[in-house]
């Protein structure tokens, strides 16, 4: 599957294209098939995203979305060495998700 990601222009936060909007949660990312470049150009022009790019993703056995490369998994979660600053601060083992 193909995922579209980038950063929020104002905050710099990592965001994922859900099919109709942007979300900070990779779990809400949509498979955009071949429409990625067109959406990226449109959203960048509208200043809703900065530095958008397409990545390969996959679905886990439970159906959850997981970026294909470790760099994007770390982007999706937050720094593995600061669980308190990740999107799953209550889960001290959250960093294992990226390995």
């Amino acid at each position: 599957m193909k995922l579209l990601t980038g950063n929020d222009l104002r905050t710099g936060a990592v965001i994922w294209w859900t099919g109709s909007n942007w979300s900070p949660h990779v779990a809400e990312a949509a498979d955009i098939g071949s429409a990625g470049e067109e959406i990226a150009a449109r959203e960048e022009a509208a200043r809703r995203v900065v530095a958008p790019y397409l990545i390969d993703g996959e679905r886990g056995p439970d159906g959850s979305v997981r970026p294909g490369h470790i760099k994007d998994r770390i982007r999706a979660l937050g720094p593995t060495v600061r669980p308190d600053l990740t999107l799953k601060p209550a889960d001290p083992a959250a960093g294992n998700w990226v390995i």
Binding site: R10, G12, A13, V14, G68, I74, G78, P79
Partner: protein, 546 residues
């Protein structure tokens, strides 16, 4: 320390106003990202893995208490309560919002700081010996020369679009505590027959193609110091490669021309520049030097009777490990380790920064230094104040006794924060730190400089570690190469790769294996590096790979 004059302040204030306008235009759409990116980079604002990252310049690593408190306030008000001190003696904030960036720069300008030239193909923050003004072995205080270089290089119109970034370090002793020969230009202040001058080493660096800078000129008189630097830069600006960013650093030019030919061209340019009279007036150097007098403790409150430290053994251990001699009688320099066991190298919370500021004000003539090793130095401490200083640091978790030991690891942010990285550095540093703390071998190993980079760009100085670790991407998986035998000191050397890499746990085992071999084979007085040099690579490879 140096204080801005009206020109410095006007330049920085004007830049804040300019960037505020640029950010407003980016946010309302008048500037595209392609137009805005070079403008934000000129102000140290990167887009990193998780957010915008702001790199703030700390000239030659020097801060007063007011400035350190301002850094703490920025961490708290605009970031997530912490900052990361870097190997370029700077600080980075990892979670900056674009709209806040002009306000942050304004806050910095109020304490005579900025983020100018912390990115881009220009002359970056000038670094220097962290013991400047305190070391007994220096021929002069190198900071006035570093400051002169800062002023010369700030907004230098000819050098604002170099082939690639450019880094300069200044020292003034035989001992090299600033990795001088691993800079684009490394300058050592020297004295010849009672006359002060400078040695220029040009063409060093780490990164993809590590090189130790050759000596290009053995003596440049101080009143031709800037002119010679200008000549070095001019030759590079003229002939440095712009067609390939991987071959664009001055080290490649010096290597390809050869040191003799590069020297010949510099001398020719130097002779020409001398006719133009570009050297700053001697009075300007004297004005700068007046800011760097000896530490003044007269205004400090008189020493009161102090209770002994609550843990005398821990205090003695810290004093033995982290306290350095000073050129003034009754004074020492004290290193505040930002490497707690299992911690993140170089990170400090806002509260810790405020403790450091308080300690600088109370105990170190209102001055502290960011070291390129990602620790903080208090340069001018009265020996009698050490127990009180230690107690304050210990309360804040800042009294780890490990200077230059295996737990005092340099590590770049790595893949946890950096968009260029291939592998994480920090978790490896944490595991090694914890492993050696648990085994209790750290002190027994003595001086063992371990440096970790998460990619070939070598921000973690892995080439120059007694033990170096380089993180690489092997088919989407983190892998770590081990290097041995590097040094960034006066015996500068580049480490050699041992062989096939290791996974995250394997590299921790590998470091312990080579450390154990050193313990088993060392002779009296030998550091790890000495034993490696005597034995060579083979016994270490045998221990690692069988």
């Amino acid at each position: 320390m140096y204080a801005y004059d009206q020109y410095d302040q006007a330049m920085v204030d004007a830049r804040v106003a300019e960037f505020r306008d640029q950010v407003a235009r980016r946010l309302d759409g008048r500037l595209s990202e392609d137009q805005f990116k070079p403008l934000r980079l000129m102000n140290g604002l990167y887009l990193q893995l998780h957010a915008y990252m702001l790199r703030v310049a700390i000239p030659y690593g020097t801060l007063n208490a007011r400035q350190m408190r301002a850094l703490a306030d920025i961490a708290e008000q605009y970031d997530r309560g912490y900052g990361h001190f870097t190997t370029r003696q700077n600080i980075q904030y990892n979670w900056i919002k674009l709209a806040d960036a002009p306000d942050i720069l304004a806050d910095l300008a109020r304490v005579e700081m900025h983020a100018i030239q912390t990115s881009g193909n220009c002359i970056r923050n000038i670094s220097a010996d962290h013991l400047a003004g305190a070391a007994a072995d220096e021929v002069c205080d190198p900071r006035p020369y570093a400051e002169l270089l800062r002023q010369w290089s700030s907004f230098h119109p000819e050098f604002s679009a170099l082939p690639r970034k450019f880094k300069i370090a200044v020292i003034a002793s035989e001992a090299d505590r600033a990795a001088m020969r691993l800079h684009d230009i490394g300058i050592r202040m020297v004295e010849r027959e009672g006359t002060l001058g400078a040695q220029f080493y040009v063409g060093g660096g780490m990164g993809r193609t590590p090189m130790i800078a050759p000596l290009i000129r053995d003596f440049v008189p101080v009143d031709q110091f800037i002119t010679y630097a200008e000549a070095c830069l001019r030759v590079y600006n003229r002939h440095g490669r712009r067609d390939n960013k991987y071959k664009a650093r001055i080290k490649i030019l010096v290597h390809e021309l050869g040191a003799d030919e590069y020297r010949r061209q510099v001398e020719e340019e130097f002779a020409h520049l001398l006719t133009l009279g570009i050297e700053p007036p001697r009075a300007e150097l004297e004005r700068i030097k007046a800011h760097f007098g000896p530490p003044i403790h007269a205004e400090l409150p008189p020493l009161t009777a102090q209770a002994g430290p609550s843990d005398p053994a821990a205090f003695a251990e810290w004093r033995a490990a982290n306290v350095l001699p000073h050129k003034l009688p009754g004074h020492v320099a004290a290193v505040i380790s930002l490497k707690p066991i299992g911690g993140i190298p170089g990170d400090a919370t806002a509260e810790q920064m405020r403790v450091i500021a308080d300690c600088a004000a109370l105990y170190s003539a209102d001055e502290c230094r960011v070291m390129h090793t990602q620790n903080i130095l208090l340069p001018h401490v009265r020996e009698a104040d050490l127990p009180a200083l230690y107690a304050r640091l210990a309360d804040a978790g800042l009294a780890t006794a490990n200077l230059d030991q295996v737990g005092d690891i340099i590590a770049c942010p790595g893949l946890d924060y950096c968009s260029l990285a291939n592998a994480r550095s920090i978790p490896v540093a944490q595991k090694i730190s914890q492993r050696f703390a648990a085994s209790g071998k750290g002190a027994a190993l003595g001086e063992l400089k371990l440096k970790i980079s998460g990619c070939i760009n070598a921000c973690g100085h892995h080439h120059a570690g007694h033990i170096g670790i380089l993180g690489v991407d092997r088919k989407g998986t983190e892998n770590y190469q081990l290097l041995l035998g590097g040094s960034e000191a006066e015996d500068a050397a580049l480490g050699k790769i041992t062989g096939p890499g290791f996974d995250e746990d394997g590299i921790v085992d590998a470091v312990e294996t080579v450390a154990d071999l050193y313990l088993a084979r060392r002779e009296a007085g030998e550091r790890f590096l000495d034993t490696y040099r005597r034995l060579g690579m083979e016994p270490f490879k045998e221990a690692l790979y069988g």
